[in-house]
Symmetry: C2
Subunit: 458 residues, 2 copies
């Protein structure tokens, strides 16, 4: 019934470069990072072993992590999808972690003016994040075992659900570095306010934020539960500014993952930066000590854009035009310069190839040409976006699109020039509109005993 992962620890292997084992950080102990017996019981355990008919569960939970529940139904496939992703490491999890299927992203306004209160929230959040990413309740006493006269320390809707590869990733917005908390001098040079791009139609209610948390998991209920409990814990110090669910990932961040499709029906993220690209990650993803903000070393910068897609218009566009915009075949994802469309998704683009009429096969204003590193001084992004549908827009259309998330070492050299290029010329602009925008500095990973952002506050 209760399963653990192959190595018996209930954890998936740490991907290259993310959430590295504690041994990789000299300051962290080499001993196992978690002792479940010291921090209360798993969500599953709280139900009482007899309720689940899992007589052996206590032992299983003590020896590792309960990562699956035979009674929880068809929530995810394979034991990996239910497993826990390590919370501690040199980098935050949720960046090069293989992209999970579902997203809940939340941006907060800080409502307190007390730096000490803000640090308290970050400390409390760190504890809760460590617990929830391990598949445990948000607080020690959980949803049902605390004093009955008090509100529970967990909201309960994830009781019985496994960790589901939940990752929680925090980011700090430019506005956190205003005068309120004495952080102005520590604002990283790379954390610039994004410029206005041609065609932007940004809704302030879906943009910005002092703080953000990206919750990714294979079970959306687990991601929603995490965001809700962090908001609950932060009550009085932070308030939700905006939040976005994503139902399907649109990028792979590991070579082990198949390339998913966006709502244009095309494979997305074929050429994405991936966890295995170690040298490129150092060059393009992770902030370095010499980048002007030593506290950000090992962190990364996140650009979030809510891109509304005019899918009804797209759906009335000929296949030829769709493929011309992408420069790829819709079925296989192969570049349209590939002779054989089969199985060539990972072929290089041959941008110099011309037709018999001496026109470039991949047009000068094709999306993939304009976004390609060759057109952008080698700049690349680690994309981690999600498809969304948020009901309809009152005009007979679905409010659908792509919630674009991209991590990078320096938006000034990566997202901003690439997006300038696209905003100016991309033929895809007829079908997309950027309606939300935000940028965040995501600090390095947390060491055991530390807290989210401690390199900034100490």
């Amino acid at each position: 019934m209760a399963r653990t992962t192959e190595d018996g620890t209930g954890r998936i292997p740490a991907p290259d470069g993310t959430a590295a084992p504690a041994e990789a950080t000299p300051e962290a102990p080499a001993a196992p990072q978690r002792e479940p017996s010291q921090r209360g019981l798993s969500r599953r355990r709280l139900l009482g072993a007899s309720a689940a008919g899992l007589a052996g569960l206590g032992a299983a939970a003590a020896g590792g992590y309960v990562v699956a529940d035979a009674r929880s139904g068809a929530r995810s496939s394979g034991s990996d999808a239910a497993a826990a992703v390590p919370f501690y490491g040199v980098h935050q999890a949720g960046i090069v972690t293989p992209a999970q299927d579902r997203l809940h992203f939340v941006s907060f306004d800080i409502t307190t003016t007390s730096r000490a209160d803000l640090v308290d929230v970050l400390r409390e959040w760190t504890k809760a994040a460590e617990r929830m990413t391990a598949g445990e309740a948000a607080g020690d006493t959980g949803a049902v075992d605390g004093p009955i006269e008090a509100p529970p320390e967990d909201t309960g809707e994830a009781l019985g659900l496994p960790a589901s590869q939940l990752t929680l990733t925090i980011g700090f917005g430019p506005t956190m570095f205003d005068r309120r908390f004495g952080l102005a001098a520590r604002r990283p040079p790379a954390l610039v306010d994004l410029p206005a791009f041609p065609g932007d139609a940004l809704d302030p209610a879906r943009s910005g934020g002092d703080l953000a948390i990206q919750a990714c998991a294979h079970d959306p209920q687990v991601a929603v539960h995490a965001v809700r409990n962090l908001a609950r814990i932060g009550f009085g110090a932070v308030a939700v500014r905006w939040s976005q669910l994503g139902f399907g990932r649109t990028s792979s961040t590991s070579r082990d993952q198949a390339t998913p499709r966006n709502l244009f029906g095309f494979k997305d993220g074929t050429r994405n930066l991936k966890a295995e690209d170690s040298a490129l990650l150092e060059e393009q993803l992770w902030a370095a000590p010499g980048d002007g903000a030593p506290w950000m070393a090992g962190g990364s910068y996140l650009v979030a854009r809510r891109m509304r897609m005019h899918i009804e218009t797209w759906d009335r566009t000929p296949l030829s035009e769709q493929q011309a915009i992408f420069g790829r075949f819709k079925g296989t994802g192969a570049p349209t310069t590939s002779v054989d469309a089969d199985d060539n998704e990972f072929d290089d683009f041959e941008f110099d190839t011309v037709t018999g009429a001496s026109e470039p096969v991949i047009a000068m204003d094709a999306h993939t040409r304009l976004a390609h590193p060759d057109q952008n001084a080698g700049a690349r992004l680690l994309r981690r976006g999600y498809n969304f549908v948020d009901g309809s827009d009152g005009l007979g259309r679905l409010d659908a699109g792509l919630f674009f998330l991209a991590y990078q070492r320096d938006p000034r050299k990566q997202f901003i020039p690439i997006q300038r290029n696209l905003a100016r010329s991309d033929t895809m602009n007829e079908y997309v509109k950027h309606v939300g925008s935000a940028v965040f500095a995501c600090p390095p990973g947390v060491r055991k005993g530390g807290y989210w952002g401690d390199t900034l506050f100490t």
Copy 2:
């Protein structure tokens, strides 16, 4: 790589009473209901076998249904979650079908005034629904194999994804029976306009509709794809009025399913009508020929209510009060009248039990007492609701709640009196607000060669 279900057909067993095998319907042929080779290739097949490295796929697709894709990632668990649910049957699928994990519900306004056009859409929709529920593209030529000068017959984002137990269930709203289509005389007596209930705060933009389709699947991308393609096919005759995604089921409709939790953190639907309750289903779920609308025999009436939950307030409520409102223990779901809280979720409520102070253990205004069949002349519902989070509300709170869906034989005897009872007295009303409402007559299942609603139009 490519898997089929245990019986090799790629279908899950038909649950008792729903989507019965063709043999159960005298008019339908006893031969296999589908011949895939006659209606184009599966979504998977369209990619080209070589692209997926599935050399044997052609044969597999011809012999049954390809129900899983080893490359599609962790989208669902077990072979069943990927399988196809039969589309044809005496009842529509998606009612007593074991509730899938994800929902996309859409309500349409009919924009044509031509009855013939409306029937054309229903015929086209039926063909597409049959195909998509089998894991195929919406149209014969799919997303990539049609003429390149034309818009594709499928939008493509589900290419490579299995059927994922997709069900598509249609319903007709009261407004469809106005003068436009000559249907006024055929409006079922049970399809009443819902009365205003105390506390209702209904948004017209999230209420009503001439037509609705409920898409349920284990993969949300498959459900979204289906709704989008039906909207695409209906363009010019129907327009999306409102739409709602649900990320987690809140009811079981089969005894084989574990009871899930709503966003109050409580198990929901423990006492739900279930597929196995054959006699009760005849009595409480399915419309009968003598009910006043013979065309509805074998159909059912659906009430949809968008219930916003004030989860932030709830989360500051003591566990004792939460449990008093539900009359159940939060952990196990057992009635608070059960002596041992363990493992007694399915215990009967002992409404007459009193405390030492002679107060009823389950208060007179507890939700479960007021909603119980004993308090409602035996009336029951088949609930099929979903948790939702639609971003935030601009006031620092998540826009979260329960999208309540309930099927029944006659809302006049079931939903309406139960909801009157609840709206008047339920202590839960402090934490929920009904912000959307609709009612639909869901016609009986389709026979092969027929179309959705053909008993109404012929």
